[in-house]
Amino acid sequence: MKYDVIVVGAGIAGMTAAIYVKRAGKSVLVLESVIHGGQIINTIGIENWPGDYGVSGADLAGKIYEQLGKLGIEVEYSEVETIEKTSEGFTVKTDDDEYSCGAVILAVGTEPRRLSEKQAADAGKRAVSYCATCDGALYKGKPVVVVGSGNTAKHEMKYLENIASKVYHIHHDEPIPKDAEAVFVAIGRTPNTKFVKDLVDLNSEGYIVAEEDCITSCSGVFVAGDCRTKQVRQLVTAAGDGSVAAEAAIDYLAKK
């Protein structure tokens, strides 16, 4: 199948980009490895997304997905494994299919940084969670530990204090307390960009290098959202990038 634009990732950035591409009269396919919505789907009570005070991430994702449906935008649930530049454009390979397109928008976001090997071995058979609001309730009245030193770790501890019998706190690479039944990890996030390291320039942390124009080092490849080098990683900036990357891709196709 051939599309004008393929968007990789159906988070807020990718879904917004697809809306703009489609409304400009171009064909677009969104490829998503997990579920539309991305990293926000576990969050409740969002207070800084304009127009929908207190909305949950899951409901917000559902509403935007519904909007995609109304605009006739296709979303395919497959993980993109490779993107190759060809003479006509790009070949995008997923775990079970292959597509071609004229331009690519990378909106692959970030994932939680995993425990170090040492700590993972230390955790052994105990449950390891990257989201206290998702899994905290399963450890009612039991001792748990939070790993991490940033704001997210503090937030996770506060949440767990009302549920668990005891909440230990350790930093990255400290030993895990013996009696903790679950390990809640909050040691930052890392971009999902390994599979494009030979296609576009990444910075030392793996973020795709681009200015506010969302144009990457590879002509025809654009970037949107949290996986881009930028100062503020939020829903509105992800959506903003989505529109900018889409316009840049449309412009690129027109000039090609």
């Binding site: 579920i35 409740i44 649930y77 998702c134």
Partner: protein, 101 residues
């Protein structure tokens, strides 16, 4: 897709000849709410597979017995034996892959 409790689990899942998908979930879990319509659509398309939900707040012993450490968690039973499990929301395609093994 129907919701079952601890008392019904043996009859509905363990003693059932065939494939059952058990979706461990909770009301407060946003991703679980996103998963439900996907499971409902799957159940409609694949009438040979039974799909049931288990609310972990109302059935905490079951959640503990099956070592549920994150939700949503989908567990596949074949003739009463667990054969596969996966955590997180899954697209229909991936559910089918789990069922087909």
């Amino acid at each position: 897709m129907k919701d079952i409790n601890e008392g019904e689990f043996e009859a509905e899942v363990l003693n059932y000849k065939g494939t059952v998908l058990v979706d461990f979930n909770a009301d407060w879990c946003g991703p679980c709410r996103m998963f439900r319509p996907i499971l409902q659509a799957f159940a409609k398309q694949h009438t040979d597979v039974k799909v049931v939900g288990v609310n972990i707040d109302d059935n905490d012993e079951l959640a503990e017995k099956y070592n549920i450490s994150t939700i949503p968690c989908l567990v596949v039973f074949k003739d009463g034996e667990e054969v596969a499990r996966k955590e997180g929301v899954l697209p229909e395609k991936k559910i089918l892959k789990m069922v087909e093994g």
